[in-house]
């Protein structure tokens, strides 16, 4: 094996054990320096193997310095390196030596490419936990400080993510310094750094002492929330959630709410969008009292915002907002303060807004109960079921189960049917696909009788759709329906119609018969399969289109296990043997495959 190390490489370090000497560092480093990027990448991904071969001592003294000094490489390689180093503590000798990993990660945390930097920060966070408190102050904190005062924005950005992991275990004097550094990053000249700081503000606040939160974090929050760039302001909204959780109601009212109120009315729609998007979190963080006084009015404004994006984001939160209101008085609040605005949104000019609302509105019925649902929500559901935009109708139909629990689906069925029929014939196949997926659910809720009368013909029509994905979904749909309504129903209503298609002039439809048999045979059981399906399949073995013939072979393989031995030996075997001699290559292949799988050879 020594030869594998290549010519000209003698035994390595004398002190090492036998295995180490086989792999002198030079050979391994050659691999890490290979001209071919792909090979370099492969080597880096196996860095742990290399380290293992070198042993902990030489990994520390030889490999890591090499990685720190000489690696200037493709971002892809650097990313792999950053990731590897996060799990390297064991390979350098355990927590006592974890700090050896800091230098290479420090350089990686300053590179231009965001993905690499983020990964380096992630690994640094991981390693920080493995440091002892002493090592943390001796090695890790100085690194954070260096990054925080780096001259290019990349290192300062990376520093932002490291404060919260070293703060809790630092001594008081060091803590003050860490806070000082974080403060200066929050007012950095570069907006990129301010954004990074703003996005970590909440995380940092959580590890601070309450006094410091009030005296230091809150002013930072207020500043960031009124930054000249909206991209910074909107990140402050996120931080608001974390900060609010830490403060008492009084402090919250005095220190945070003025800023939050201002954010909800910011002149930039992006900030208002963020408030709408984080609404549920904000609601939980500020508690019921402030929610009633402040958030509900703000929410009303967001629901009638001039930008559709903001309205849609707010509409998405309607259900959660209502759910999270205190049970006492909830109904009154919803009826008087929320519902009037929802009614407006049902006829919004923007389809995204309507569709966002349609995806949650049904959830209100469980909160409001039967009577309110029938009186107030039902008209809205019905209006949305008739909406011109298919997505809105689809969102209503896909959430029918919520209403079913409260008032039963019958209330809706008269309006439901035209909506379903229209979606079933929508010009966009994705819409048709979506409605097919809800068929089994609808069938269960509407019952067999209603289904046979109104929907069965739709399900059969999809089998001859001109888009394959629809035919495929229709086939699977049949199987689920049989599981729901039972074999007797299948035998009377589905199977005859499927089998008739075997004589269709279009070979695609003839193949659909086979696909249906593939999924239905198991649900229908041996008797129906043998008596009704098998003869048709066998007859199709003589089809003139080769695709049909090899699908016959595939189908026989599929339904074979359901049949009894007699049928297999006397009926299936001869047909497969004949197909095994077919002139078409594929037919032969699948016939032979079926013969061997069914053990008929």
């Amino acid at each position: 094996m020594a030869g594998a190390a290549g010519p000209g490489t003698g035994p390595g370090a004398a002190g090492g054990d036998g295995d180490d000497s086989l792999y002198p560092i030079a050979v391994l480093i050659d691999e890490l320096r290979n001209e071919d990027v792909q090979l370099r990448l492969n080597s880096i991904k196996k860095l742990s193997t290399i380290a293992l071969a070198l042993g902990v001592e030489r990994t520390r003294t030889e490999l890591l310095p090499f990685l720190t000094d000489t690696i200037y490489d493709e971002d892809e390689v650097l990313l792999a390196l950053a990731e590897q180093l996060g799990n390297f503590t064991g390979l350098v000798g355990g927590p006592d030596f974890a700090h050896c990993l800091l230098p290479p990660l420090e350089s990686l945390a300053t590179v231009e490419e965001t993905v690499v930097r983020d990964k380096a920060v992630e690994s640094l966070r991981q390693i920080s936990q493995e440091h002892t408190p002493v090592a943390l102050e001796a090695h890790f904190v100085p690194l954070v400080k260096r990054l925080a005062s780096g001259d290019w924005f990349t290192s300062r950005t990376s520093a932002c993510g490291l404060f919260s992991v070293c703060y809790p275990r630092a001594s008081n004097a060091v803590k003050a310094e860490i806070r000082q550094h974080f403060r200066s990053l929050c007012s950095d000249d570069t907006p990129m750094v301010r954004r990074a700081a703003a996005s970590k503000l909440g995380e940092f606040a959580k590890v601070l002492e309450l006094d410091s939160v009030k005296s230091e974090i809150v002013p930072l929050f207020t500043n960031l929330a009124s930054d000249e760039q909206d991209s910074v302001r909107l990140l402050a909204v996120e931080a608001c959630v974390s900060i609010a959780q830490l403060l008492s109601q009084e402090d919250l009212e005095a220190l945070v709410m003025p800023t939050l109120r201002q954010a909800a009315e910011d002149k930039s729609w992006r900030v208002r969008y963020m408030v709408a998007d984080k609404f549920s979190e904000l609601q939980k963080a500020v508690g019921p009292k402030i929610t009633l006084n402040d958030l509900i009015p703000a929410f009303q404004n967001l629901l009638k915002d001039c930008e559709a994006e903001v309205r849609a984001a707010a509409a998405h939160k309607v259900k959660e907002l209502c759910e999270n209101l205190p049970a006492e008085g909830r109904e009154t609040i919803i009826m008087n303060q929320i519902l009037p605005f929802i009614k407006e949104l049902v006829s919004d000019t923007n389809q995204h807004v309507k569709s966002a609302l349609a995806s949650v509105i049904m959830g209100l019925s469980t909160i409001l109960g039967k009577e309110n649902t029938i009186e107030h929500l039902l008209p809205l559901f019905l209006a949305q079921l008739k909406d011109e935009c298919p997505e809105v109708r689809l969102n209503i139909i896909s959430n029918l189960d919520c209403v079913n629990e409260v008032i039963g689906i019958r209330q809706l069925s008269q309006s439901l049917l035209p909506a379903i029929v229209e979606l079933a014939e929508d010009a966009k196949w994705r819409v048709r696909l979506a409605i097919i997926e809800y068929m089994p659910l609808l069938a269960g809720q509407l019952g067999m009788e209603f289904f046979d009368e109104k929907l069965n013909s739709l399900c059969m029509a999809w089998l001859v759709d001109h888009v394959y994905a629809i035919r495929e979904a229709a086939t699977n749909n049949l199987m689920k329906l049989v599981q729901k309504f039972g074999t007797e129903w299948a035998q009377n209503t589905i199977v005859p119609k499927v089998l008739v298609m075997a004589n269709d002039p279009n070979y695609l439809h003839r193949m659909t018969t086979l696909f249906c048999i593939n999924v239905l045979s198991e649900a229908c059981g041996q008797e129906i399969t043998t008596k009704q399906m098998l003869p048709i399949v066998l007859k199709m073995a003589g089809d003139q289109v080769a695709n049909v013939r090899f699908n016959v072979a595939k189908s026989l393989q599929k339904i074979g296990p359901i049949l009894d031995t007699d049928a297999l030996q006397e009926e299936v075997k001869p047909v497969l043997q004949k197909l095994g001699q077919d002139e078409d290559m594929d037919v032969k292949y699948f016939a032979q495959e079926a013969i061997s799988v069914l053990a008929l050879a």
């Binding site: 090979l39 071969a53 990129m192 729609w269």
Partner: protein, 497 residues
């Protein structure tokens, strides 16, 4: 109505080419996907601008500026400016037609007046003017109707209030260009905050608006010396955000066009700040997905830098090699084009420094299965200057590309490429027959050595992998007693091999 602007000239050096010479981006991709996409249905949206407008007062036409005696001119001008600060809803195209017409007429008159009448721009009207402009142009741009807006494929959203907005921009421009304009007075109002908001507007989807902004920012840069460093810094912030955070900003090409002329005017020797801008901002800009939208302007900036200071060449070329596209052939062709532009101005002393990595990349491009990439790379040999550089350094360049060229000449699927490579090989033969023969002879040997190396590598890794498994079992064995015997066995067998 004047819509075309006169070609802008540079503020710093009158002989430099200014804004106009930047050529339009090349269309390198012959297969437009435009026809495959269906037009998205337009949805109406409102502009954030009108949120705060309530209780609109009725506008009544004022007397014409030219009809009043000079003593009353400024008072009337002030009233007109105030009138023009009233905003209208253009999404509702029938709303308040009378008011819109009054404002339009007033704006037209202001444009006319500031452009042709001397003595109008006296100190007291500056704040009114800037206020009117600010109220009209500064607004939060509405969300894009199409979140995946592709400037090359999709129709941009046009600003609905353009009938007024255009006149305001035109007025702003004539104000800045007026012979009476005094930067020393205006700088109290055109401050850093103003410039920052102006820069944010470059994200507008409306190309007409960006065109005005470009000329205006150019004038501002020219006339307000105190704002120059700030403008450059904010531009680089916009670019960095575009590169590393958003990948979306509509006005990159326009900003680069302005920077092209700014770079042109840089004094020598270049400041560190400027060099850093090249290396840390302009070069990484090449990595952005939508490069094709602004590549021409970007390449122009880069070449401007190299013409100023040739010692930057190595940095630039190594940077481009670092960001060389791996999967996007369209971008690869653009990179090759830019590289040729750089080679056109390269000094031989600089060429020597980067020839090897550069020509290894060129060789990789020649072996690209995409024939446009291969073809573009092979065109380098049609360039007289590049050819002379290759000839002068053939002992380095030839070995760097020979193996690949030789192999591709036998394997490429496209006949045009094959014949182009034959021509290149022929040139080599004529250039240095002896070296050519040596390389041909060593080619086979190298191939064999490569295989040998690959085998050795495989063995090395296999060995390492076995060692790893043994170690792993060793540590597990230490923890779990039942495994110990097995591990011992493995260890002895490992020791024997």
């Amino acid at each position: 109505m004047e819509t075309k602007l006169p070609p802008a000239s540079t503020p710093t050096s009158p002989s430099s080419p200014g804004l106009s010479p930047v050529p339009p981006p090349d269309k390198v991709d012959g297969f437009s996907r435009r026809s495959l996409r269906r037009a998205r249905p337009r949805r109406s949206h409102s502009s954030s601008q009108f949120r705060y407008q309530s209780n609109q007062q009725e506008l009544t036409p004022l007397p014409l500026l030219k009809d009043v005696p000079a003593s009353e001119l400024h008072e009337l001008l002030s009233r007109k400016l105030a009138q023009c600060g009233v905003m209208f809803d253009f999404l509702d195209c029938v709303a308040d037609l009378k008011g819109k017409e009054v404002k339009r007429a007033a704006l037209n008159e202001l444009v006319e007046c500031v452009g042709s009448t001397r003595g109008v721009l006296i100190e007291p009207v500056y704040p009114d003017i800037i206020r009117m402009i600010s109220v009209n142009i500064f607004r939060t741009l509405p969300p894009s109707e199409n979140p995946e807006f592709d400037p090359e494929e999709d129709e941009p959203n046009l600003e609905p209030s353009w009938p007024h907005l255009q006149l305001v921009y035109e007025f702003f421009l004539r104000f800045l260009e007026s012979p009476d304009f005094q930067p020393s007075v205006a700088k109290r109002y055109v401050d850093q905050k103003f410039v920052l908001m102006l820069l944010e507007l470059f994200d507008s989807e409306d190309p007409r608006e960006r065109e005005y902004l470009k000329t205006i920012l150019h004038r501002v840069y020219g006339k307000f010396l105190g704002l120059r460093a700030y403008i450059r810094k904010q531009c680089s912030h916009i670019f960095l955000r575009f590169i590393y955070e958003l990948e979306h900003f509509n006005g990159v090409a326009e900003l680069l066009e302005i920077l092209g002329s700014i770079i042109n005017g840089f004094a020598l020797p270049l400041k560190t700040e400027h060099k850093q801008f090249l290396v840390r901002v302009l070069i990484p800009l090449h990595s952005v997905k939508s490069l094709s939208v602004f590549h021409a302007q970007l390449a122009y900036c880069v070449v401007q830098f190299l013409e100023k200071d040739a010692t930057l060449t190595e940095h630039v070329i190594r940077g481009l090699l670092k960001y060389w596209p791996k999967t996007c052939t369209q971008k690869e062709v653009m990179f090759l084009g830019e590289m040729e532009e750089i080679l056109d101005v390269i000094e031989p002393s600089q060429f020597v420094k980067i020839q090897e990595p550069l020509f290894k990349q060129v060789a990789r491009c020649v072996s690209s299965p995409h024939f446009q990439v291969a073809e573009r790379a092979l065109y380098f040999w049609n360039n007289e200057y590049i050819l002379s550089l290759i000839e002068d350094n053939c002992h380095t360049v030839l070995p760097a590309v020979f193996g690949t060229l030789y192999q591709v000449s036998k394997e490429h699927w496209n006949q045009t490429i094959v014949s182009l490579i034959y021509n290149v090989l022929k040139t080599f033969m004529e250039m240095n027959g002896k070296l050519f023969d040596e390389l041909t002879a060593s080619y086979k040997l190298e191939k064999q050595q490569e295989q040998q190396k690959a085998r050795e590598r495989q063995e090395l890794w296999q060995g390492l992998e076995e060692l790893r498994l043994r170690r792993l079992q060793g540590t597990q064995g230490a923890k779990e007693a039942p495994l110990q015997r097995l591990t011992a066995q493995v260890a002895t067998s490992g020791g024997q091999s």
